[in-house]
Amino acid sequence: MPDTLVSLPDFSGIVADLGDAVIETVVAHGEVTLVTTRERLIEALTYLRNQARFEMLVDETCVDYFPQEPRFAIVYQLNSLSRTMRLRVKVFLSEHDKTIPSACAVYLSANWLEREIYDLFGVTFEGHPDLRRILMPAGYEGHPLLKEVPVTVEEVAFSFNRRRIDADKPYARE
């Protein structure tokens, strides 16, 4: 796509200001990713919003890197309306300690996005004002987007197994 060819804005100032809060900078496909740690996350986001003028948290999501360790990554997509820049911030989380400070205090839009991650991946956000399930019903057990949950639930019906699947299906009554 043409916009990958657009020369990148200068991020060196931001990286320098953040200092050792940034542990890695990745540039790929015309996008910049800063990898930070869980402890320095809120500090980094606050700086990015107030000083570097990334006013909008466009998206926040989670990636399950199973079987790698650290297994989870929380991905923040930031957007600066005044400077027309995008930036991605990433934090890696271990499977054994799935907690991360909530970004709600910095970006209001993180509220529902974090609830979604909690619902689908089981990552706990510390300091979140209203951490409940958002998409799945309240009685649901488990977190469906983890890699150990199978992608399909029902066997695909062919002519040889159609009858058996039909017999097992719980049909409704009046």
């Binding site: 998409l135 019903p137 399909t152 639930v153 029902e154 299906k169 719980p170 049909y171 409704a172 009554r173």
Partner: protein
């Protein structure tokens, strides 16, 4: 050759009560205004300008289940929606019918996953399945006409 010309000399038609009731029921269906997903948009198209469902005498959608006797399940039913759907079905007065509109409502469609009920017939009994993703308005109308045929042949005992 209309009936009007025979006014005053109507003659007598004999038929069974069952048939007369079935005929009357089939042409006065009140569907429930119940849209879920993509198919709901096609259901709207069916009622709107070009396809005009009112030609078949059933354009009057009721928002309340208490006033309707046909539930068109238009779209995918999630596990969270399933109890709500069953409640709505239970709230509808007898006699009542269900059309599963589209692949998702019929069998889960492309979404064979944790969130979607694999066919709405797991929750409510379905009378007519309409295939398509989403079905064209013509297909839905065909499904409704099929249901009308079915209602005409239903025994009265069924709704005792």
């Amino acid at each position: 050759m209309g009936l009007e010309q025979k006014l005053g000399d109507m003659g007598v038609v004999t038929t069974s009560l069952e048939k007369a009731v079935g005929w009357a029921r089939s042409n006065a269906i009140w569907p429930m205004l119940f849209g879920l997903a993509c198919c709901a948009i096609e259901m709207m198209s069916t009622q709107a300008s070009r396809y005009d469902l009112s030609r078949f005498g059933m354009e009057l959608m009721r928002a309340s289940p208490r006033q309707s006797d046909l539930m068109i399940v238009a779209g995918r039913v999630s596990r969270k929606m399933a109890p709500v759907l069953r409640t709505l079905y239970d709230q509808m007065p007898d006699p009542k019918w269900v059309i599963a509109m589209g692949d998702c409502a019929s069998c889960g469609g492309v979404f064979n996953n944790y969130a979607i009920v694999q066919g709405v017939d797991e929750i409510v009994p379905v009378d007519v399945y309409v295939a398509g993703c989403p079905p064209r308005p013509e297909t839905l109308i065909e499904g409704i006409l099929k249901l009308q045929d079915k209602i005409k042949q239903e025994p009265l005992k069924k709704w005792q």
